[in-house]
Structure formats: structure tokens, C-alpha cells
């Protein structure tokens, strides 16, 4: 039914996919797994017409297709359900399902027909917790996912791609999703199921394709492999980079959290000591960024104890000496249209603490090359931007620095510079927490690794643990 062959794709000169094959038949649930950055999402976006491949061919029912726009893929029967839903919260379920294709009778939108068709599909899927006229904004995430699936069915989709469908779902909601996937299967629809969670892969999929670093590792029937095999296939690679030496000793406790939580996090116990780098691992949706934001007071804890303070606002935590280098530096870390100098002084000026001068020395210290102060930050490379974010925090000499994906989208040279700098700051007595979905980085840098799963701490691992150990805690799979 679906046959993708030799798919290759480059972005700005970087090869993200090379010679990937993927095939699926009617009624097959085909899982696609791989680490972050393995190329799963890019492959699916190529199938959905969001990106065009540089190499390779796609055939659907033996006909060669080439999609230039998502609509063309839609017409060919491919529907993709993203993690970020494409729904209008203010409009009703039926209005969302038929958006852009509203049935018309005598010049008027036939609302009755629209509602009836939506209701019929909901019944077919065995969903009765909401109806076609409900506004989407009042549905839970799981229910919104149902709306996306109904939309795909109303489009007569024969290939449905689900990108991390359970990432935002609670445990009992996953059951509903399983049921829906099986119904799709019964209707002869091919489901491509992207997930980090190996249990789901084994529960649902007939076959599984493993991608690593943009290449196809293998496609095997799930019956022929164990979860342990899959984890090894996903992560088995050399540690190709060097990391600065670990801390020789750690000092006093800089931050302690006991039994803390909010609506995304539960029972968090955590300690950060001066001089150490604590790594935080977890799958997407496991609560990694939420943890950083809670510690930083941006989405505060609502329960539990935290030392030195349990911040209720960002300002409070900055005053207590806590800094956060956010995952999305362009949106949350920097004022892109302002100069390097103004950005470096953002925190110092906002709090009235720390120094206002000495920007030149600071920029040299973070190894900004060239250290031009008047340049607008948006013209800098990703690595240099990240160095400015670091400089911003160093003006106030924080006692605790939280890093959320500090080297995402950063070139190799800048990455090493940032790693050195993190170690240097720790050596001077800062306590550092680093979230990273890149396992080699996490393992290479951390003195300890905390693994999160479903908003809870799944376990803590010592320095130098294996990628398999981290993955099995993160996925909840026991591997041997």
C-alpha cells in the first residue's frame, strides 16, 4: 500500500535522512522508533507533503506520488496527526472535522449533515464522551486527539501517521488511544506509529522500523525482537566526542526539593550540590522542561518543600540565585532585535543586582567570537546566541544554573565551548542541572543522572551509566 524507497533529505547542507526505506500494508500498524534527531519526524513530514525529499520515491498503491503541499498528501489519503494539534479551540468538533470542506445545501452550510456525519464517526470509534457540537476548547487532550482521528477518517485517509500520540496523554487515556488504533486497523488503514515508548510499540505494532542518525537500521516484525534488542538498535553507537573532566568533589547543598509537585510533576525529590552537574533525562512529555520551569518559578510548584525558597515567580528565584537557560533561546532567552550588550545585561538590569559594566570581559569569558557588543543578537549563530544567554546569567553570578537543552542546534565548536564553560562554572561553586535529550552529551557531562517518566522521578543513575540504562528507565522497559 505504502512504499517509500531511498528517501534522503538535507536541510541547509546537513544530511538528516539518507536512503531510508519504509513500507506498510493495509491494516498494518507500523512503528517507527529512534532517538531524538534520528529523523523520524522528518520522514513523516515528507510523507505528509510538508517537506519534499531530495532523493527517493514514494508509492501509494503502486502509483508514484510527489507531494508539493500537505493538501496533495491529504487527497492521496495520507493524514498526519501531529503532537501539536491542528484544531481551532473556539469552534465545535464538527466544524473542525469539516473545516475547509463544509457540506453545503442550497447555498447554506448543512450543519445537520455535518453533525450527523461527525456523530456517526464518533460512534464507529466507540467514543461517547462528547458530541459533534462541543467546542474543542472544552475537550481534554485525549478527546482532541479523537477529533483529529475523526477528521482523518472523514477525509477517507488510508494511511494515518501518529507522531508521539501518547506524549501528552494520561495513563487511562492511552487505553482509549489503543482502542482507536485497533479500530483504524480493522478498517484496513495503515497506521504509522511514532513513539519513544517501547511498550506501546510491542502492544500495538506488527512491524517496527528503527532509525538512527537519519539512516535505516532495520525493519523487523515486533514478534521477532525484545525491547532490549530495540534499545540497543536505537542507541548503539560510539561516543564520538570528548567532554571535560568530571567534578572531583562536591560542596554544600545549593538547592533541595522534597515531595514537590504541580499539575505536571509529582513527588519530586532532588538535591543539587555546589560544583556538580546533575543531568536530567526523560522522553518528550516526561516533564523535563516542566521541572526546570518549576525550579525557576516560571510554572511554580504548588506542593512540597524547596530550599532556599520555593519560588512563586521568576523574580523570586532569580533573587535566590537561580538562573534558567531555556530550551527555546529565540523565544524565551533573548531579545532578538536588541544588541549583544543589551541582552547580556537583561537580568542585571531587571533585578538591579549584579554588575552593569564589564560586558567586554564577560563576553570574552563566554568565548564569544568576535565579542562585538553592538551587533543585534538575531544575526549571531546559534552557538554564539547561547553564549550570550550564558553571559546574561553570569552578570548576576547565580548559585544554581538550570540548562534546558543547552546545545540544541549548536555547532560542534560552540558545543565544546559551552560544555567547558558549564564545567568551569561548576568548578567555581555553582550547582548545575542540565536537561538533554542527547544521551552521549548527558552521560559525558553529568556527575549524576536523574531520569524522569510521566512527571515523576523514575530513578537516579551514577556518572558513566550506559545509554541503555537511561533509556530503560525513561521508557519503563526492563532490559537485560
Amino acid at each position: 500500500m505504502l512504499n517509500m524507497r531511498g528517501i534522503g533529505k538535507r536541510f541547509l547542507g546537513v544530511q538528516v535522512l539518507t536512503g531510508v526505506d519504509l513500507a506498510a500494508g493495509p491494516g498494518e500498524v507500523h512503528a517507527v522508533v529512534g532517538e531524538n534527531g534520528a529523523g523520524k519526524s522528518t520522514l513523516m513530514k515528507i510523507l505528509a507533503g510538508v517537506h519534499t525529499p531530495d532523493e527517493g520515491t514514494i508509492e501509494i498503491d503502486g502509483h508514484r506520488v510527489a507531494f508539493g503541499h500537505p493538501l496533495e498528501a491529504q487527497r492521496a489519503g495520507v493524514a498526519i496527526i501531529y503532537q501539536e494539534f491542528n484544531l481551532l479551540p473556539e469552534r465545535s468538533v464538527a466544524e473542525n472535522v469539516f473545516l475547509g470542506r463544509e457540506p453545503v445545501r442550497r447555498g447554506m452550510v448543512d450543519r445537520a449533515a455535518m453533525d450527523a456525519a461527525t456523530a456517526r464517526l464518533l460512534t464507529e470509534l466507540g467514543v461517547d464522551s462528547f458530541g459533534p457540537r462541543q467546542p474543542v476548547k472544552r475537550l481534554s487532550v485525549a478527546q482532541q486527539q479523537v477529533v483529529e482521528i475523526v477528521k482523518a477518517l472523514s477525509l477517507d485517509a488510508r494511511i494515518v501517521v501518529m507522531d508521539e500520540p501518547t506524549a501528552a496523554l494520561a495513563g487511562h487515556e492511552v487505553e482509549l488511544l489503543y482502542r482507536l488504533v485497533r479500530r483504524l486497523q480493522e478498517r484496513g488503514i495503515a497506521v504509522l506509529y511514532i513513539s519513544h515508548r517501547l511498550r506501546e510499540v510491542f502492544d500495538l505494532a506488527d512491524r517496527v522500523t528503527v532509525l538512527k542518525d537519519g539512516r535505516l537500521v532495520t525493519t523487523v516484525p515486533t514478534a521477532d525482537v525484545t525491547p532490549g534488542d530495540l534499545v540497543r538498535l536505537m542507541v548503539g553507537r560510539d561516543l564520538g566526542s570528548y567532554f571535560p573532566p568530571r567534578a572531583s568533589s562536591t560542596g554544600e547543598t545549593r538547592l533541595r526539593v522534597t515531595g514537590a509537585g504541580n499539575d505536571r510533576l509529582h513527588d519530586i525529590d532532588l538535591e543539587l550540590r555546589a560544583g556538580e552537574i546533575l543531568g536530567v533525562a526523560g522522553l518528550q512529555g516526561s516533564g523535563r522542561s516542566e521541572l526546570a520551569k518549576a525550579l525557576f518559578g516560571a510554572e511554580p510548584f504548588t506542593r512540597g518543600e524547596m530550599m532556599p525558597v520555593r519560588p512563586r515567580s521568576v523574580r523570586e528565584s532569580i533573587r535566590a540565585g537561580i538562573g534558567l537557560v531555556t530550551e527555546d533561546r529565540k523565544a524565551e532567552g533573548l531579545a532578538l532585535r536588541q544588541s549583544v550588550r543589551d541582552n547580556a545585561l537583561l537580568v542585571a538590569r531587571a533585578t538591579g543586582r549584579g554588575r552593569n559594566g564589564g560586558v567586554r570581559e564577560l563576553l570574552e569569558r563566554v568565548r564569544l567570537r568576535p565579542p562585538r557588543q553592538e551587533q543585534e543578537v538575531r544575526y549571531l549563530s546559534g552557538g554564539n546566541q547561547q553564549k550570550v544567554v550564558l553571559a546574561k546569567w553570569m552578570t548576576v553570578a547565580p548559585k544554581v544554573l538550570l540548562f534546558d537543552e543547552p546545545t540544541r542546534g549548536v555547532d560542534v565548536g560552540a558545543k565544546a565551548a559551552i560544555h567547558d564553560l558549564m564545567r568551569e562554572l561548576a568548578g567555581e561553586g555553582a550547582a548545575i542541572m542540565m536537561i538533554s535529550s542527547e544521551l552521549p552529551e548527558l552521560i559525558g557531562m553529568s556527575d549524576r543522572i536523574v531520569v524522569l517518566r510521566d512527571g515523576r522521578i523514575a530513578g537516579t543513575l551514577p556518572a558513566g551509566s550506559s545509554e541503555e540504562a537511561v533509556m530503560s528507565l525513561a521508557t519503563g522497559e526492563v532490559t537485560t
Partner: protein
């Protein structure tokens, strides 16, 4: 992120901004009635009721068009100057002759469609933000009008003045015209594909695009309709004045006031949420407030202060409501 249980549905009904504005309208009428009675006057007189309707009609028609623009995620600052321009076009072509009415109306429609097209095309094809695009078009119209006219011009025949002054029972013809315009807009929004797409484009242009909506076309059509509404208001004002005037649109403050009325009626300034009914309520609310203050002979500066407070307070209330019922995007 949050699953919302069923009992909140009741809250949503109360929180519906359209209801809020009509409740507020009722409260203002009652309060006004009480205050004026204490002052020794009569509030709910025929004269007053007709007056409120007449004062609202022109703003109401413009605000209906503005509602469409705002719902689609756009807005139109050129309506005030377009009203001036169309009043002049109408009065000049009529030149006091009954025979001129039909060509004048046609010319006004033509001018309005043209201005709407320019607004829509600049916004969609040149990707200029609606605020700047329509401000620019407003200045262009102002330049043309100021160059050609320095006072009222043209003349409207007596037969055309019926539009502005006649009434059937307690209902002025102008208010009926407003009602017809509002009904047409309501029908478009709630019963046609075009309306569904306006909400989609205003709600999230990317979602709309990925669902196959030709978003540019929706925005352009919306601006044409909005400008047509301004043209109708221009005709109405010409009929009242008996002539066209280069300042009739700006003196009435139809640009910002129409936006205020739309927002007061519960339509989200960012687009995608709201409707014509709320706007009608918002316009009436502003007119009734005016009427109360006039009767109490309140200082006109104080009047503006109260209007400002009402508008800000209303939007703050809606923001709270939607915040309570809203959800973070998954």
C-alpha cells in the same frame, strides 16, 4: 491541558460575552432610567428611543463590517475616511436630482469595493500588517479628499433624505437599514462556508491553510464587505446632512469607535471568536450611555472617561472569563 468537566458548561453560558453585553445594556438602561427619573426627567420617551437608534445606526453599520474584519484576524482603520469620501461621492453625483440616486449608490459601491480590494490585497499579497495597511489607505483617502474639498459639497435630493429621517412607528428607517446589514452579516457568518472560513482564518491561519482554506481570499472578501459597510454608512450620513462632507467620518470617530464597539461586544481583537450580535449590543450600549449622559447634562469630557472605563472593563471581564475556560494548547 486540562480536561474540563461538564458542570463548567453552565458557567460558559453565563460567561458568553454576547450575553454579558446585553445584560450590561439592560443594566445601563435601568440605571439610566432611575438616574434620569431622580433628576426629574423621563428616560424611556419615544423621542429618546428613536434618538438612540438614529445615533447608533451609522456606527452600527460600520461596526458590523468591522466585526467581519476583526473576526478574520484583521482590522480596518480606513473606514472613517472612506465614509467621508463616499458621502461626497454620493452627494456630488446626486447633485440634488432624484435621477442621480441610482448612479450615486452604484458609484459608492464601486468606490467601496475598490478600497476594500486595495486593503485586502495589501494585507495578503504584500504582507503588510492590517494596522499599517489600512492606516496607509486611510491617509491616501484623506489626502485626496482634503485636496479636492475644504467643506461640504454636493446636494442630496429630498427623496433621499427619507433614509436619514423617516421612521415607521418607533423604528427609524436608518435603524432598519442597520438591522438588515447586521442580519446579512449574521447569516454569512453562521450559515455559509465563507463565514466558517472567517472564523477559521481568524482563529489560526495556519490551521485554516492546512485544512485547505484559501486564507488570502477570505481576508480580501472580508475587507471588501467591511468597506461596503462603510460606504452604506457614508450614504446614510449624506442623507442626514443633505450633502457630502470631508470630515463627517473622522468627526464621528468611526474608525476607533467601531473597533471599540466590536470589542465591547465580546469579539476577540485577535480574531476567531465573537459575532455580530455582540457588536449590535456594544453599539447600543455606547449609544444608551450617551443618551443618559446627555439627559443628565453631564460634562462631555467625563462622558469620554466613563466610555473608556466601560470598554476597558468589559474586555478585562472577557479576558478573565476566557482565561478561566481556556486551555493551554497541547
Amino acid at each position: 491541558m486540562t480536561a474540563l468537566p461538564g458542570h463548567r458548561a453552565g458557567l460558559a453560558a453565563i460567561a458568553d460575552p454576547t450575553r454579558v453585553v446585553f445584560v450590561a445594556l439592560a443594566v445601563v438602561i435601568l440605571a439610566g432610567w432611575g438616574l434620569v427619573a431622580l433628576d426629574g426627567g423621563q428616560f424611556l420617551t419615544l423621542e429618546n428611543i428613536v434618538g438612540v437608534q438614529q445615533r447608533s445606526a451609522a456606527l452600527g453599520i460600520v461596526a458590523v463590517g468591522q466585526t467581519l474584519a476583526i473576526l478574520a484576524g484583521s482590522l480596518d482603520l480606513s473606514v472613517a475616511y472612506l465614509i467621508s469620501l463616499t458621502s461626497l461621492v454620493a452627494a456630488e453625483i446626486m447633485a440634488g436630482q432624484d435621477a442621480g440616486i441610482v448612479p450615486a449608490v452604484a458609484a459608492v459601491a464601486g468606490v467601496s469595493v475598490l478600497v476594500g480590494l486595495v486593503n485586502g490585497l495589501v494585507i495578503t499579497k504584500l504582507r503588510v500588517h492590517a494596522f499599517i495597511a489600512t492606516l496607509g489607505v486611510a491617509l491616501i483617502i484623506k489626502g485626496v479628499v482634503d485636496h479636492l474639498y475644504d467643506g461640504p459639497a454636493g446636494r442630496v435630493p429630498e427623496s433621499f433624505q427619507h433614509l436619514g429621517y423617516d421612521r415607521i412607528g418607533p423604528v427609524p428607517v436608518s435603524a432598519m437599514l442597520w438591522a438588515v446589514v447586521a442580519l446579512i452579516a449574521w447569516f454569512l457568518l453562521s450559515r455559509t462556508r465563507y463565514g466558517y472560513r472567517v472564523y477559521a482564518v481568524g482563529g489560526d491561519p495556519e490551521v485554516a491553510r492546512l485544512s485547505g482554506v484559501r486564507t488570502d481570499r477570505v481576508v480580501i472578501v472580508t475587507h471588501v464587505l467591511c468597506s461596503l459597510c462603510a460606504g452604506i454608512a457614508g450614504l446614510l450620513l449624506a442623507s442626514r446632512l443633505g450633502a457630502g462632507a470631508p470630515t463627517v467620518g473622522t468627526d464621528g470617530g468611526y474608525d476607533l469607535e467601531s473597533i471599540a464597539a466590536v470589542v465591547l461586544g465580546g469579539t476577540a481583537l485577535a480574531g476567531g471568536r465573537g459575532g455580530v450580535a455582540g457588536t449590535v449590543g456594544g453599539v447600543l450600549l455606547l449609544a444608551v450611555l450617551d443618551s443618559v449622559f446627555n439627559q443628565l447634562e453631564v460634562n462631555s469630557f467625563f462622558k469620554d472617561v466613563v466610555r473608556g472605563v466601560v470598554i476597558v472593563a468589559a474586555v478585562a471581564v472577557y479576558a478573565r472569563r476566557t482565561g478561566m475556560l481556556g486551555r493551554r494548547r497541547a
